[in-house]
Amino acid sequence: MDFSVMFQQLCKGSLVTMQLFIIVLPLSLILGILVMLGARCSIKPIRWFFEFYIYILRGTPLLLQMLILFYGLYYIPGIGPHLVITSRSFACTLAFTLNYAAYFAEIFRGGLLAVDPGQYEASKVLGLSKSQMYLHVVFPQMFRVALPSTANETITLVKDTSLIFALGIEELLQNATNIVNSQATFVPYIFAAIFYLVLTTIPSVIFKKLEKKFDF
């Protein structure tokens, strides 16, 4: 097989990988903050809901969650047929976002616990409202503490994108496998590894920079 054809296939695959990554990362970060706030809510039913959410999403495999979202919704009695997701890529994006939000929520919760209670008191005596306090005082400190774990989770996200082959989407690893099988050569796997390395290096460099910047 022509080298350029192989290269093209792998590029196409990594484009799919990157697309998923770029959409899922910001969505799951934002949803993660909301889930974290929900799991700390003083209204008990809301707190229970989000604690249960984290429990389920962290306690079952992402692959299984993807399969259930795409194939399983139909079987919910009554409303099932109306919930069916027909787009494979949408099902993947949704499953990844919901799953990673649960992890990010836990990471942020840890970061929040690390913020000194004195910071809340100082904000209060200066007259800051709750939202001003969280936005300007608490969250920046929470993010700094959460940064290393967030970097870890982000890199895992790049690699986890290979799971979407299960819904028949041709991403990087799947394309490599296809060539390996048809051409009886192992080389595409080596190149796939290099592609993944490049893709994970970018976020790790960015996070290292952020850690330096937020070293207060």
Binding site: D116, G118, Q119, E121, A122, K124, V125, L126, G127, L128, S129, Q132, H136, V137, P140, Q141, R144, F214, F216
Partner: protein, 251 residues
């Protein structure tokens, strides 16, 4: 003369432990009140209740005549905010915002809370940093400062909101002895500028030299109050004598 702060019959318990039993006192404008007494006597709880960091169980607090709580019933949040806005607080552990520079620490609240013009805020910031002798540290981060410098920044930050009364909760207790002097000097200067202050402190020399009134608290009760000469030279209560003897021996 109207008092800047008036507290009447304050009561507070943590579970079975009664920390404030029927505390009443007033603070006049420009007065410096030192609150002294053994640890666990309710001094900090009293101070924190005056700025709504602790909720009292009974009694009333007025700041500039505006109620914060009356007969144990707290006002609406907007009224509480209005009353506490006239009060500033300096903490034992400074509680500076570590992710912001000194300048931004000072400017955050005036900008967010008062929506104050940024030119005025910047001028205030320069003025108050000058006052505490730290104008060259405007762009430093808190971690780059000594404990004494941090506490002086915290004082400047409190002044930025132009409080009518400033509360100090053991402002030098977390500092090395050689650093307490610079903080006490800053507070003395505030006293000379007629800032109204309530200071919970273990620094008897400060209470003696700077305060107009000393309150001795033990087991949730004000046992004795009066001008410093009287409290330090002629305490009427045996408990006060005992406390002063033990603490002055140590210093």
């Amino acid at each position: 003369m109207m008092s800047v702060l008036k507290a009447k019959n304050l009561k507070k318990s943590f579970g079975d432990l009664c920390v404030l039993r029927d505390i009443s006192f007033e603070v006049e404008k420009g007065e410096v009140v030192a609150v002294i007494g053994p640890s666990g006597g309710g001094k900090s709880t009293l101070l924190r209740s005056l700025i709504d960091l602790e909720k009292i169980d009974g009694g009333s607090i007025w700041i500039d005549g505006d109620p914060l709580v009356e007969n144990g019933i707290y006002c609406k949040p907007a009224k509480i905010a209005a009353a506490t806005a006239k009060t500033g607080m300096v903490f034992q552990h400074f509680n500076l915002f570590p992710h912001l520079t000194v300048r931004k620490n000072l400017e955050l609240a005036p900008k967010l809370v008062k929506k104050q013009d940024s030119k005025i805020t910047a001028d205030d910031c320069t003025r108050y940093l000058n006052k505490v002798g730290l104008s060259e540290k405007a762009n430093s981060y808190p971690r780059e400062l000594s404990g004494g410098q941090k506490q002086r920044v915290a004082i400047a930050r409190a002044l930025m909101m132009h409080p009518d009364i400033l509360l100090f909760d053991e402002p030098t207790s977390a500092l090395d002895p050689e650093l307490t002097v610079e903080v006490l000097d800053t507070m003395k200067q505030l006293a000379r500028d007629s800032m109204t202050m309530i200071v919970v402190t273990h620094e008897m020399s400060f209470a003696r030299e700077v305060a107009n009134k000393v309150i001795f608290m033990d087991q949730g009760v004000i046992l004795e109050e009066g001008p410093p000469e009287q409290i330090f030279s002629n305490p009427t209560q045996p408990r006060t004598k005992e406390f002063l003897n033990s603490i002055l021996k140590g210093q």
